[in-house]
Subunit: 464 residues, 2 copies
């Protein structure tokens, strides 16, 4: 169906991808402009919209009982707001010159062009599937989308065996390992890196390693998976590495994601070194007045290193969507960049990081001092005080904060926000030692652990 006949009376916004970034953009644009000013058509190839992919491990693990709890806004809710949402419809081409997209109805196979005045690309990321024999076997699952999560849960429901192998030990891998432990599986995590959580320096990842072993998870580090073995029924039977073979009734792939930009690439839109779309501060695709992009398919500016990165994270996607919607709707908003904050949880272990790791700092030519301190989440005498480790990096000479990593128990993780704001403001660790942070015995020792780290870092910078 060619919808261009309505173009005379109002503009049309086309949104490609119906998850966090795309539907936030659509919703915000709708708040800015009513249906008489702006028609909004959104294409989504899956069955769901606006869901929390970050919540999938908790759904699999049983902390969240129903899939629908992960859905922030249903397709019907979007339609009720005047967004023409087409589910199970995949955009297969973008024609930038003629301002139109070609979409395929995945059920009927029908394809047609839809023209746009403004376009939002929010195609997300695709999980990396290691290129090895057996990776497509039954029982091998990614967990990127709600459809993926449902498929895994269906598999778990009909699998009799109780041996699971998780490939990869980043956020998803670690969270899925916990989820599977909760479901009563024997879990082995096979990890290419020296330690789990490669978003931390290895000395901090080591703390996560120990905690995972404490949960009964078998961690195999420094190892590459070479193939997946299948049984006669075509189902996964084992995961093979360079050194060993791990029996598996189910395999979860958590080896990371790449920006899903094949459409954008084919359309000649500008991609960065990580394969993500490049945008300006208003999330407009560089060089294209009427095309915006956000979420897991774009690269973002790292304010600490000054370089572009690819950070697939729901909180960024939502911010991008908001900003795009404001700009599409005639307002003004910018996304200044990120500092690389992330938090995660494995049972009662809280893991957080922001800014640069040692190797990030080296790569961009920054010299630094690094300190690690042990403290507690509350005053030592207060019930429930638990140990936490804080690592802090500061630039040599200037003392500018470069990064913080935290591993601890309850109350540890969100302390990373102190450092996230300090990084955003370009604070020195010396300045941080005087920060007026909330203190009372149930919340913190009299010197908050972040201040203890800042004091030690400041002393080291002074002495260097």
């Amino acid at each position: 169906m060619d919808m261009s006949r309505v173009r005379d009376v109002r503009e049309r916004l086309v949104v490609v991808g119906g998850d966090a970034a795309g539907m936030s953009a659509a919703s915000q644009a709708r708040r800015m402009q009513g249906p008489d000013e702006l028609e909004i058509v959104a294409f989504e190839r899956g069955h769901f919209t606006s869901y929390s992919a970050c919540g999938i491990p908790y759904w699999v693990g049983g902390d969240v009982e129903e899939r629908d709890r992960l859905i922030a806004r249903t397709p019907q809710e979007h339609r009720d707001r005047g967004i023409d949402l087409r589910l199970r419809t995949e955009v297969v081409a973008i024609d930038v010159d003629r301002q139109r997209v070609r979409a395929r109805d995945l059920d009927s196979g029908d394809e047609s062009w839809t023209s746009y005045d403004k376009l939002v690309i929010a195609t997300g990321a695709r999980p990396i599937r290691p290129d090895m024999p057996g990776v497509d076997a039954e029982g091998v699952h990614g967990v990127q989308t709600l459809d993926d999560g449902q498929a895994l849960i269906d598999t778990l429901a009909r699998t009799r065996g109780r041996r699971a192998v998780v490939v990869g030990a980043g956020y998803i891998g670690v969270e899925m390992a916990e989820a599977l432990i909760k479901r009563g599986y024997e879990v082995t995590v096979v990890n290419r890196g020296r330690e789990p959580m490669s978003t931390l320096d290895p000395d901090m990842g080591r703390l996560v390693h120990r905690a995972m072993e404490g949960l009964g998870i078998t961690m195999v580090n420094d190892t590459e998976v070479t193939k997946v073995l299948t049984g006669e029924d075509g189902r996964v039977r084992a995961v093979v590495t360079e050194d060993a073979e791990y029996p598996a009734d189910v395999v979860v792939l958590g080896v990371g994601v790449r920006p899903e930009t094949s459409l954008a690439k084919a359309a000649g839109l500008p991609l960065g070194g990580h394969g993500g779309l490049l945008t300006d501060l208003g999330m407009r695709v560089r060089g294209h007045e009427n095309i915006w992009a956000g979420g897991d398919c774009v690269e973002v500016l790292d304010l600490v290193s000054g370089q572009e990165r690819h950070i697939p994270l729901g909180t960024h996607a939502n911010k991008h969507g908001q900003i795009i919607g404001m700009n599409v709707g005639g307002g003004y908003a910018t996304f200044p960049g990120v500092v690389g904050t992330a938090v995660s949880k494995v049972c009662d272990l809280e893991i957080a990081r922001t800014g640069l790791r040692e190797k990030d700092a080296r790569r961009v030519g920054l010299q630094f001092e690094s300190v690690t301190i042990e403290s507690t989440s509350r005053a030592g005498y207060y019930p429930g005080a638990s140990p936490m480790t804080v690592k802090m990096l500061a630039e040599r000479r200037t003392g500018r904060l470069l990064g913080v990593q935290i591993v601890g128990r309850e109350g540890a993780g969100k302390r990373v926000d102190i450092a996230a704001v300090a990084l955003t403001a370009g604070m020195t660790v010396e300045r941080m030692t005087a920060l007026d942070l909330g203190y009372a015995p149930p919340f913190s020792p009299v010197w908050d652990p972040v201040l203890v780290a800042a004091r030690k870092a400041a002393a080291k910078v002074r002495a260097s």
Copy 2:
């Protein structure tokens, strides 16, 4: 004993007051200079050193079992570090011209002069005792020092009745009310203000009010206590207000403190409008090269209002002590000021504030926009997500953050640190909307509640 005979070989530092600020200063000075360079004499009129006065309510309430758990460093530990500590010895005069202090041994009554090269005044604060009949009756307690706490615990142990009245509903009053509830008392809190926690705006204090009532505490607001009635045994029997009489077996005074600066005043040292000593950025008493002061006896610069305030809080006292010790010992450190951060807890309710309240902003001539939002501590679908209320003030036109108040459950309170750092950096609420804060379902909704408040505040600033 005149100790001036040793002045030829080394300098002498005299410290007046042996709690957080004084002993931190002494310890840090000792780290900077050994006993052959610097003699350190510290006078403390009580029995204890370096303790957590903030922990007293938790000791009274039974969360902390032993008094000694509140002591960070014992007198013997200080002595072992080469600090000549004189307990139960009160300084009764400072002779600035002749660089000496007169001290009285509280047990023997003996007095003598001790000369100093450098002096640290850390005399703390004294609780306000309402000037009314009966206030000195047996069973009426302040909770400022560890000695006070011990006296209250002794009273509770021998009191048969179970009715307690707390006068004042600030941090101490509220925490003591909870402690007494935990000990099985019927608790009435009599409060002069419109709502408890006058460090919050009344609309936020109202939330605390409701929570306290939910705990079974009787809150009486807008009421002045006029006298304390005693029985024939001389013990407290009731608290009388303008309107009513509240039977009481024990009374706790939590009506606040004033800087303890009578010595400093008599010595002609400069005091500010709140009665606290005035210092420079290095915590040196203004106009006095060799005298420093810190902790609850000084005024601090409020970086948001640009005015001096009196904020008695252990975390500031410790920072002051560190900075004084550095400077006394020949190093360099400054205390830039505070933003007025405080957190507190009543059972599972967390209460936090930083920056200016509405009335503070008005008093210093700032026009502002104010917003209040409701959100949750975790992703809505994640177990344990609990509601929290965030109020945010931003300056009109500029959008500069002026203050944040938070009332919620687990995970709410320390979020105030985000705002504390943003205030310190002078951020606008618009800038805050893009902060890269830690997000994962167990820690936060995809938009952290502080970001939700910042978005609403930014929209209001734009619209104004």
